[in-house]
Symmetry: none
Subunit: 188 residues, 4 copies
Amino acid sequence: MSQSKKNTKQKIFDAAIKTFAEKGFWKTKVSDIVAEAGVAQGTFYLYFNSKDDCLYELLEYLHKGTLHQINQLIENKQSTIFDICASFIKRIYQYKMLSKVFLFEALSSGEKFKNLYFRFKKNIRDMLSKVLSEETNNYNETTVSIISGFLKELIEYYILFLNEDLDTILKHLYEGLEKIEGARYEKI
Amino acid sequence: MSQSKKNTKQKIFDAAIKTFAEKGFWKTKVSDIVAEAGVAQGTFYLYFNSKDDCLYELLEYLHKGTLHQINQLIENKQSTIFDICASFIKRIYQYKMLSKVFLFEALSSGEKFKNLYFRFKKNIRDMLSKVLSEETNNYNETTVSIISGFLKELIEYYILFLNEDLDTILKHLYEGLEKIEGARYEKI
Amino acid sequence: MSQSKKNTKQKIFDAAIKTFAEKGFWKTKVSDIVAEAGVAQGTFYLYFNSKDDCLYELLEYLHKGTLHQINQLIENKQSTIFDICASFIKRIYQYKMLSKVFLFEALSSGEKFKNLYFRFKKNIRDMLSKVLSEETNNYNETTVSIISGFLKELIEYYILFLNEDLDTILKHLYEGLEKIEGARYEKI
Amino acid sequence: MSQSKKNTKQKIFDAAIKTFAEKGFWKTKVSDIVAEAGVAQGTFYLYFNSKDDCLYELLEYLHKGTLHQINQLIENKQSTIFDICASFIKRIYQYKMLSKVFLFEALSSGEKFKNLYFRFKKNIRDMLSKVLSEETNNYNETTVSIISGFLKELIEYYILFLNEDLDTILKHLYEGLEKIEGARYEKI
DNA sequence: TATGAATGAGGCTTCATTCAT
DNA sequence: GATGAATGAAGCCTCATTCAT
């Protein structure tokens, strides 16, 4: 892939993220994306087969990257559940707009996206399970649900609704996990 | 409102809930709703100004009813946090399809719906706060976030994804609150 | 089907025939047809799934009607090959524009239409065969090819290109068949 | 024209013939042609002004070549009508794909092409007239129509539809002319 | 009140053509 | 000459909404 081709695709990608996040998948027109990207309507179709396709590629990118990042932490045996969650929250915060699309658009954007969303949720829960079972001796599924739900609440309420900064959110996370797990963590 | 008018509107209401839940707001056509309801296309517009309007009315109905139900429990000073949560879960379970639309479509269906959704979330959190502060002496916002997130996880994962029955879900709820609060509740 | 519905479909049908005949299938836009018919763009899609569909329905109509008409003549045992051909030519002349579409657009409008065209051609040849074998004792396939080709030449050259009137064309037909068959026919 | 330029143009020419014949003029995209030719999209426009232009050049080439070939036969006073027709059929068979485009696409590809087609048809008929009037003493226009139609039927039905081989088709031709003319020809 | 045919603005996508390299 | 990414006009089709009956 040539440099210029890569650039054009990236421009469209960035514009799509921004537009999907602002207007939502269904209200976003391809013409909005290309206007934001500064390319012609037809150019969009050189890189994506459809609007659907574009969203799917974006979500897969976030999905894979996030899981990969967490997996690497897990392989480092010294990572605590706090490290994992903080890493997750940081990534979501970094990709705020794209995450918004993933977490709050996917369920209503068609079967394909719903499946991707639930695959993601399942993966996150599995990772939490793994770390919890290594870390504590009274692991159970309920704890996974509590933490998984708490993470989503942090994102939904503190990031999206209240729009708080990362440090404040990590503080909430720390306090929450402390309460849930009854343990103290080193902040990272 | 005459009896027959009420019936027609109710037919459309029910059809709309079913269709929105099955196909999502954006993929639902007015023609789908009226086909399901067994009335003519034009009839829809005798009762609703628009497709948006119809969804909004539905969500407000769920919103108000749910808050009202919880409020009544709160006014009965003996209600525990478990009672409140169980009542909430039961109602969501009862209006499974409509709730699905509310909890997972609203954020992506336009500004108006997003506002309604966050108003609802805020109300639920406030009620939890109120009960918690009456019930425990170490109440804090973090606990509200944990419980609020846990409730949504129960709905998202156990009701929508795994499609478990009400009793199983209430069991999860009980175990979760026990873990969060470190207390035992009377099951209702 | 209500009267008004029938009328609208007929209006579109007529407009489609005219437009297809004038501009050809590929150059005809749905917007041309509806403009000619005096209805809205969307109305077209109440009656046809697509432009393809519309053409197909038109051609089938001509196809079936023409075959039916000839079949009835054949069942009357006294019909000569001249009667059959004259009846065919008259029908083509009557549906001049639609026939033009069938005979000269179908082969280039996609597989489906090509198949319909060759089915039609085969049917016509079979009918000619049947009548010839009843009428003469030295019937053979070559004669069928000669007559079939002659008929198409009459249409292509005298109707479409020279735009001659029906009587002149029937005169050509009479002379041609006389030459081919070496017999004299009663003009009908 | 340089050698390499000639090669590129020829590659595109050949690809265009193949593609037009397979998919028809309207369904053929310039991108199909260049893919088949193995050149870049822009290269097409170094040799042709437009897709229309390319088809027109192709058809003119077939047109002129065919007429030229027949004219040479006519100048040789000993050529019979069978020689002329056989030569015509052989050429059509040799340029099967291109002929398909000419004979069955031209009428529906726009005014310019329709004119070219009828010019061709007129030329063929004139040549037949000329030979017939030299060969027989009871020449008339009807015979021209019969032979012209028969030739097209041979192409349409036996070449395109039944896909028979050249010898078989020439046999049909021989039998047909024998029947039409009541004479015996030397096969060439 | 109820109907359902008709509307038409608007979105998605295609593809012939251009042009900078 | 050759390339192929970029263009953008144009066309098909959808569907929320209207309105005459």
